[in-house]
Amino acid sequence: MRELKITPIKNGTVIDHIGNGLALEVLKIIGVQSLDKDSTVSVALHVRSGKLGWKDIVKVENMELSPRKVNAIALIAPTATISIIREYKVREKRVVDLPDRIVGVLRCPNLNCISNQVEPVESEFDVAERRPVVLTCAFCERRVDDFLHHLA
């Protein structure tokens, strides 16, 4: 049995199989600053992986991800798996999956898009292609394939 480099958590979320070097971006999406101050956040960078070669892992105590955050993670770390931990046991495990429409996760890179103006509307993107992922803005039809720089 391999030695675990991160200690188990009682309740929370484990995001595994994050592409190598992307853990800090995942932390930005999770918004660790807003977590309960007694929660532990563990980050493992550059961990050996049978599937990916190298991967990153993030564990966050006492937090479950909103669907919106799962969508954001699916965009920047499409290989990630998300496990919900309760009482030290994995209660639910799933791969991240992009829905056909993604709302409120990215800013449209077109600064002149109506979704970037002062209007009562959230950004919306449709998945135009899945491998690799390309999105189109539901308003201005701008195509986006660089998600890291456009997270809302």
Partner: protein, 314 residues
């Protein structure tokens, strides 16, 4: 198939049969647009013209179309004198317009504005240009002009000349011509070439795409020469604009090697891209194109509003 009550935001909202039906209807509307016959399918209808960007041809031809169909217009022609100046959002303005009218014709400087307006509005929205985005009725009247000249769109060799990067009319027109099996030739300054994503989409539709930098060679075998203005206001950088401003000009010398039946189109206004001497030749079709804006917009308004049904989305 019915366009009744639909929004028209992008040419992609229309199928080929729907476009064909509109072009046929536009042809039948010509004597009504000329005032030689009278038809009033828009009696008791009010169309809101919401123009948040300067426009001459588009607004006047839409207003003319509404009047010719027996309807009435209410108009925001200058956002500086409307509540937009006080900071009102487009959404709020559209909420108001939808309660004052039966349809909204919108021109707005932000891309995607018409799509947003269509979500807010209970009444049909026609996009009359959203920034550098879509302008579907321009595409319809471009197609109508070609169809009137040649009787068909299929198999035409169409040269698209000018700003192929930022020009909003060109991408929509190229898509529509692709639907009809036209052959496309792109000719532009090197910094204003067609974006790769547009090219990919066209190739995916099975279009044969040619690029030709030499104007006289591009024109030689063409049926249609579609000239665009390089729009200073679309450039993010003035230096980039100055590099290409005035880089092409169509005159009788360029057209000397063209087929006799070649037609020259331009969405107008022109800013030196076509010499005035071309106006007197049989190639000049841009004023006919500007006239056809009226019957084309009449055909669309009649299809969206003529009859009793309310808005429904397909």
């Amino acid at each position: 198939m019915s366009l009744h009550g639909r929004d028209v935001i992008s040419i992609r909202d229309l199928t080929r049969p729907e476009i064909e039906e509109l072009l046929d209807s536009a042809r039948r509307m010509i004597p009504y647009a000329e005032g030689k016959k009278v038809t009033h399918p828009l009696t008791d209808k009010i169309v809101a013209m919401a123009f948040f960007e300067p426009s001459t041809r588009t607004r006047l031809s839409f207003e003319s179309a509404v009047h010719r169909l027996g309807g009435e217009c209410i108009t925001i022609a200058d956002p500086l004198v409307s509540s937009v100046r006080k900071g009102e959002s487009l959404s709020d303005t559209v909420h108001m317009l939808t309660s004052y009218s039966d349809a909204i014709v919108l021109r707005h400087p932000n891309e995607g504005s018409a799509r947003l307006a269509a979500r807010v509005s209970e009444k049909p929205v026609i996009n009359a240009g959203d920034g550098a985005g879509q302008h579907p009725t321009q595409t319809l009247l471009d197609l109508a002009t070609m169809k009137e000249a040649f009787g068909t769109l299929s198999g035409l060799r169409v040269v698209l000349l000018g700003d192929l990067k930022y020009g909003r009319t060109v991408h929509s027109l190229a898509y529509a011509l692709a639907l009809f099996g036209a052959e496309l030739v792109f000719s532009s300054p090197s910094t204003l070439r067609l974006p790769d994503e547009v090219r990919d989409q066209l190739e995916h539709m099975g279009v044969r795409i040619h690029e030709e930098d030499q104007l006289h060679r591009a024109v030689r075998d063409a049926d249609v020469l579609y000239v665009t203005r390089i729009q200073k206001e679309r450039f993010p950088d003035e230096a980039e604009y100055l590099k290409v401003a005035g880089s092409y000009r169509i005159d009788n010398g360029v057209l000397a090697g063209a087929k006799s039946r070649l037609i020259v189109l331009h969405p107008l206004p022109r800013a030196g891209e076509i010499a005035a001497e071309v106006d007197a030749t049989s190639h000049a079709a841009y004023f006919r194109q500007a006239f056809l804006a009226v019957p084309v917009r009449m055909a669309l308004l009649a299809a969206l509003l003529g009859g009793p049904k309310s808005k429904g989305r397909s």
